[in-house]
C-alpha cells in the first residue's frame, strides 16, 4: 500500500474506554490522579471489586499527577513513614513488569545534602533509622558525594558548603504521565469505569434507617455530579488539594490547607546530571529528566490558594539555590514554570482512613510528596475501601491522630518534603 505523505498519522488506539456513568457503583472514587487510579487498580487486583467508577472533573491525571517532579524515595525518618514509603518503593520495582508498561522508572539514587552541623546530625540519624528499618541509606562524606555527582560544587569556599549527604541508591524518578496511563489501561481492562469531565459537586446522604437506625445524614450513599447523581456503596476521596472543599459540605473539617507548589524545567540539555540532588538548607532539588531537561522544585508558596499558580520570587529563590550547588547551570534557560495545588497537613504526613460520616473515606494530606507513594496510597486506600478497615500500613494515618496526639511528624526530618 502506498503511503500518502500528507495523510495524518494513524490515531494510536486509546488506552481506556470513555464510558457513560452508570447509575450505581459499589465504590466511587473521586479524582483520577495517580492515587485514584492506583486505588481502582488495587480494588480490582487485590480485592476483586470491579464495579467501580473513578470520577474526574478535568482530564485523567491532569492535576498534581501531571505537575510533580517525580522524585521517588523512601528514606523517611519515622517507622510509620519508612514502612509506608518503602512498601511503595518495593511496588514501584515490580510495576513496570506488572503493568506491562515502560514508564522509565530509573533508580538513579537520591542525595540529600547537609550544609550545617545540625543537618549533619539529623541526616546521620535519618540514615541510621533507615538502616534499622531495612531501607537502603548511607552517610557520605563530601568526597564520596562528589564521586556520585561530579557536577555538584562541594567546595568549602561557598556560603553553605556541602558537609556530606545521605544517599539512597534505590531512589529515583519515573515518567509520571505514563504511570497514570499504565494504571488507567489496566483498571479499564478489568472493567473499571474511568469517567472524565465529571465533577462531584455534593453528596447524597441517607435518611435515618427503618426502625430508628442511624440519624439523618450520618452516611453517604451517592454523589451529585455535573452528569447526574451516581449511587455508591462506598465513596473514596482522592481529590488532593480540593478534598476539603468536598468534605466541608458534610460539615467535616480536615486539618489540611491548600497551597500552590511550583516547579520548573530548563531547555533540553545533554545528559550531565546522574542522580537526584535535594537540599533542605539552601532549599532546592534538581534532577535531569530522560529527555534532557533539568527539573527543579522547592517548597510551597506561603499562602493558601486554589489558583494553580504561584509567585515568581519562589522560583527565583530556588534557581539561586540551584546555581550555588551547580555553577555550570548558570546559563541554562528556563523553559517553563507551573504550579499545582497541594493539601498540606500539620505533621506533613497523609490522612488515609474513615471519616465521621459512614461510607465516606479520605486519602488526602499528601502535600508536596505523594507521587512517590502512589502505589502504597492505592494499596492501602483500596484495602480501606474494600474492607471498611485500615490496612496495617495506614492504621497510624487516621484522622483520629490529631485528637490523640499520635502525630507522624515528618517535618524537616525527612529532607526536603518531596
Amino acid at each position: 500500500m502506498s503511503h500518502d505523505p500528507r495523510a495524518l498519522p494513524e490515531q494510536p488506539s486509546w488506552l481506556w474506554r470513555n464510558p457513560e456513568p452508570k447509575r450505581s457503583y459499589d465504590v466511587v472514587i473521586v479524582g483520577a490522579g495517580g492515587h485514584g487510579l492506583a486505588t481502582a487498580y488495587y480494588l480490582a487486583r487485590n480485592h476483586g471489586i470491579t464495579n467501580v467508577a473513578v470520577l474526574e472533573r478535568g482530564w485523567l491525571a491532569g492535576g498534581n499527577m501531571a505537575r510533580n517532579t517525580t522524585i521517588i524515595r523512601s528514606n523517611y525518618l519515622l517507622d510509620e513513614s519508612a514502612a509506608l514509603y518503602d512498601h511503595a518503593l518495593r511496588l514501584w520495582e515490580t510495576w513496570p513488569e506488572e503493568l506491562d508498561y515502560d514508564f522509565l522508572f530509573s533508580q538513579r539514587g537520591v542525595l540529600n545534602l547537609a550544609h550545617t552541623m545540625q543537618d549533619v546530625r539529623d541526616s546521620k540519624r535519618r540514615a541510621f533509622s533507615n538502616q534499622l528499618n531495612g531501607v537502603d541509606a548511607e552517610w557520605l562524606t563530601p568526597d564520596e558525594v562528589a564521586k556520585i555527582c561530579p557536577i555538584l560544587n562541594v567546595s568549602s569556599e561557598v556560603r553553605y558548603p556541602v558537609l556530606g549527604a545521605t544517599f539512597q541508591p534505590r531512589a529515583g524518578i519515573a515518567k509520571h504521565d505514563h504511570v497514570a496511563w499504565a494504571l488507567a489501561r489496566k483498571a479499564d481492562a478489568m472493567g473499571i469505569d474511568l469517567i472524565q469531565g465529571c465533577e462531584v459537586t455534593g453528596f447524597v446522604t441517607a435518611p435515618a434507617g427503618a426502625g430508628g437506625t442511624g440519624t439523618d445524614g450520618d452516611r453517604v450513599v451517592g454523589v451529585h455530579t455535573n452528569r447526574g447523581t451516581i449511587n455508591a456503596g462506598r465513596i473514596g476521596l482522592a481529590a488532593a488539594g480540593r478534598t476539603s472543599t468536598l468534605t466541608e459540605q458534610l460539615g467535616i473539617r480536615l486539618p489540611v490547607q491548600s497551597h500552590p507548589l511550583q516547579a520548573l524545567v530548563s531547555e533540553l540539555l545533554e545528559p550531565i546530571h546522574p542522580t537526584v540532588v535535594m537540599s533542605n538548607h539552601v532549599h532546592v532539588y534538581v534532577s535531569q529528566a530522560h529527555k534532557g531537561e533539568l527539573v527543579l522544585g522547592a517548597g510551597i508558596d506561603s499562602y493558601n490558594s486554589y489558583a494553580q499558580r504561584g509567585s515568581v520570587p519562589v522560583i527565583e529563590r530556588q534557581m539561586a539555590a540551584a546555581i550555588e550547588l551547580f555553577p555550570m547551570f548558570a546559563r541554562a534557560q528556563v523553559l517553563r514554570t507551573w504550579g499545582g495545588i497541594v493539601d498540606v497537613s500539620p505533621d506533613a504526613s497523609p490522612i488515609i482512613g474513615p471519616t465521621p460520616v459512614g461510607n465516606l473515606f479520605v486519602n488526602c494530606g499528601w502535600g508536596t510528596g505523594g507521587f512517590k507513594a502512589t502505589p502504597a496510597a492505592g494499596w492501602t486506600f483500596a484495602h480501606t475501601l474494600a474492607t471498611g478497615q485500615p490496612h496495617a500500613l495506614n492504621e497510624p494515618y487516621g484522622l483520629d491522630r490529631f485528637a490523640t496526639g499520635a502525630l507522624i511528624d515528618e517535618h524537616g526530618a525527612a529532607a526536603v518534603a518531596h
Binding site: R253, S258, Y303, V312
Partner: protein, 92 residues
Amino acid sequence: MLLIECPWCGGRDETEFGYGGQAHLSYPDDPHELSDERWAEYLFMRDNPRGPFAERWVHSAGCRRWFNVLRDTATNEITASYPIDAREPVAR
C-alpha cells in the same frame, strides 16, 4: 507576586510579608476545659475555602505589624486590608 496593602505602610511586594493563615482565631479562654477533640480543633483545624478568606499577614520587612487581609483564594484578588482588632469586612 501579590501586592499587599499594609494598613500602615501602603501597598508593598509580597516578599516583604510573612503569612499567618486564618484570621480571627483566639486562644481558648480555658484550655483545660477542652476535650481532646476540641483542643485538636483549636490546634489543627482551619478553614480552607476556595473563595473569600480572611487571613493574617505580618509586614516583616517593614513596620513589623500584624494585620488582616480579605483575599479570594480562587483568584488571589485582595478586597480588604484592616487592623487586627477590626471586624471582618463583608465579602463583596
